[in-house]
């Protein structure tokens, strides 16, 4: 086997130097980090009083996790080249399931488990519809989005309910407490979940199959990767985490609104896309998504504190999604 194939240098940047290779490989993450620092620096300059106090960071760490948590498993789904739009309703459906179990049993933990299971079931349903029936995930999850919201409205009769009972359990300090009286637990959960997801995505077979299924599903199948199962697991994870995040939101307010979740769709998706996960599938990082979420989160208070109208936020969110997706299309053409 002395057949050798001539390898030409790919581009001047890639040549030799391990430093430039590192830079090239993580270009997107490095760029995003720089953008995040620039935006932060800009607001620090425009609204120094707000951004020099700890309060703003405490409140960012408190509220960002509500969508940053969901953005993490959503990253996997988008790497696989699918999408999930149903998670805002699944947030509410999880807590509705909690109420359904808590009301007769008066057991908070049992209710919490029911909440997570409900999320899992919702994710499983998405996965099954998309994989087994071959319906595009965009359409399927618009459908299930309405489906679960409907279930919530019927089961709660459209009325909110208090959740004060949670206060007496360990769940309260565990999910919404403050670590060292300084750092909100919500933020800690983003770190925990982010680390777990990063680990599985990069160091585990499942993650390898996520990337391969999104990059080239045909070849992954031909080489024996169970693409369908990988997809279903990814959708299940979104459902599970959405229910968890829903529980967290209700718990922090000690009240459950059946409309909860509305308004989380745009910034969750924006976090993933801004984080450099490609809508064409096959690439994306958890690091990017988490940083992306905090960039998205800082924009609204930043705009208000700088003295502009809050109406600008939507425009900027929309702008971010369009620009980051367009950028991916350009990068893709450049490198492949």
């Amino acid at each position: 086997m002395n057949a050798t194939l001539e390898a030409k240098p790919l581009s001047p940047v890639a040549k030799g130097n391990p430093f430039s290779r590192f830079f090239r490989r993580w270009a997107l993450q490095i760029a995003l980090t720089i953008v995040a620092i620039l935006i932060w620096g800009f607001f620090l300059w425009r609204a120094p009083t707000t951004f020099k106090s700890y309060n703003i960071y405490n409140s960012l760490m408190l509220t960002t996790p509500f969508f940053a948590l969901m953005a993490i498993p959503l990253t996997l789904v988008i790497i696989i080249k699918e999408i999930d739009l149903s998670f805002p309703s699944v947030m509410a459906w999880g807590v509705a399931a909690y109420e359904l179990v808590y009301t007769p049993t008066h057991n908070v933990w049992l209710g919490f488990i029911a909440c997570l299971l409900a999320g899992l079931v919702a994710g499983l349903l998405n996965g099954m519809i998309i994989v087994k029936l071959g319906i595009p995930s965009l359409i399927a999850t618009i459908g299930t989005q309405y489906l679960w919201r409907g279930v919530v409205m019927i089961s709660t009769n459209g009325q909110g309910s208090g959740m004060v009972e949670v206060k007496n359990t360990l769940l309260y300090p565990l999910l919404t407490g403050q670590l060292f009286q300084k750092i909100p637990m919500e933020f800690i959960w983003v770190l925990i979940l982010g680390l777990i997801a990063w680990f599985f995505l990069n160091k585990h077979k499942f993650g390898a199959h996520v990337y391969l299924s999104g990059d080239n599903a045909d070849s992954a199948r031909l080489m024996g990767v169970n693409v369908d199962r990988t997809k279903i697991i990814a959708f299940c994870l979104v459902g599970l985490v959405a229910a968890f995040a829903g529980f967290m939101v209700s718990e922090s307010l000690l009240f459950f609104w059946p409309t909860m979740g509305d308004g989380y769709l745009l910034n969750t998706l924006a976090s993933v896309f801004l984080g450099g996960t490609s809508v064409f599938g096959g690439t994306g990082t958890i690091y990017g998504t988490v940083i992306g979420a905090f960039v998205i989160a800082i924009i609204q208070p930043g705009i208000v504190a700088s003295g502009w109208l809050a109406y600008w936020t939507q425009l900027i969110y929309g702008f971010i999604i369009v620009v980051s997706v367009a950028l991916q299309a350009v990068l893709r053409r450049r490198f492949i």
């Binding site: 057949a3 194939l5 990059d215 096959g282 490198f335």
Partner: protein
């Protein structure tokens, strides 16, 4: 019988379309079989049945080294030692070289944890020994989407070789390759023979197939139109017959039975 692989009366229909009809096919031990046929003749379908990607219709039988195989799946076929080098699309473009080499067969422990270091080292070794990537620009971390057609085919072939297949199937491996790259690819087929392995070599291009194979099987419209030992006929004779089959569906001038065995199964 010294066959590695044998198919008996295998058919495959997709809805109304019959892609393969009552195909009998075998590959001997250490034999290189060239599978020829026009687009839509059923070559790819046949390959996908052998690799467990498609299930044949009921009634067809498949034997591996004399043992009957039922409900073949892709991982099962790989465990048996059937390895396919598909056309270019077999690579995941945005992934690194080492991830592509170990695609679907990642080295991992019982918990599914990847042995990334091990896979990188193996890839590095394969790069210098088999693939012949010498440039420092290409590392196990390089993205395969940036490779040339020949380099990509080299990756796919190396992948098959690394996992020590018994039967290597090359699905149009020379498509899109330059002249010198094609030569290397054909060298590889000769290497399979020398290593004592069996091979099915699929190609449109008879000039690529003829020099390296032992036996030629011609598929036409889902049936085997004929098969020849290479030493029975010259390249020109074969060409004549292929033109004829494309026009009339018959290989022989005298309109003899299509599918008739020119040679016994005297392998």
């Amino acid at each position: 019988m010294d066959d590695v692989l044998q198919l008996k009366n295998v058919s495959k229909t997709f809805g109304e379309v019959s892609a393969l009809h009552d195909v009998n096919f075998h590959v001997g031990k250490n034999e290189v079989v060239g599978l020829l046929g026009d687009n839509g003749a059923g070559k790819s379908t046949l390959v996908k049945i052998i690799t467990g990607y498609y299930r044949p219709d009921a009634g067809g039988e498949m034997y591996w080294k004399g043992k009957k195989v039922d409900h073949l799946s892709v991982p099962m076929a790989r465990d048996l030692g059937i390895e396919v080098v598909y056309q270019e699309r077999a690579l995941a473009d945005q992934q690194t070289l080492w991830r592509n080499i170990f695609l679907g067969r990642e080295i991992s422990n019982g918990w599914g944890l990847l042995d990334i270091k091990g896979m990188r080292t193996e890839t590095k070794k394969l790069m210098s020994t088999v693939m012949g990537f010498t440039s420092s620009a290409v590392t196990p971390e390089s993205t395969v989407g940036t490779f040339s057609g020949g380099e990509r085919q080299g990756v796919a072939i190396t992948r098959a070789l690394y996992f020590e297949a018994e039967l290597i199937i090359l699905d149009e491996p020379t498509m899109g390759l330059s002249l010198s790259e094609t030569k290397k690819c054909l060298d590889f087929v000769a290497g399979i023979k020398a290593a004592g392995k069996s091979c099915i070599f699929i190609d449109h291009n008879i000039f690529h197939v003829y020099p390296v194979v032992d036996r030629i099987v011609v598929l036409d419209r889902g049936t085997i139109a004929g098969q020849y030992m290479k030493n029975e006929l010259t390249l020109d004779e074969l060409l004549d017959r292929l033109y004829r089959v494309a026009q009339t569906g018959n290989l022989e001038q005298n309109n003899s039975q299509p599918g008739e065995m020119k040679n016994g199964e005297n392998k």
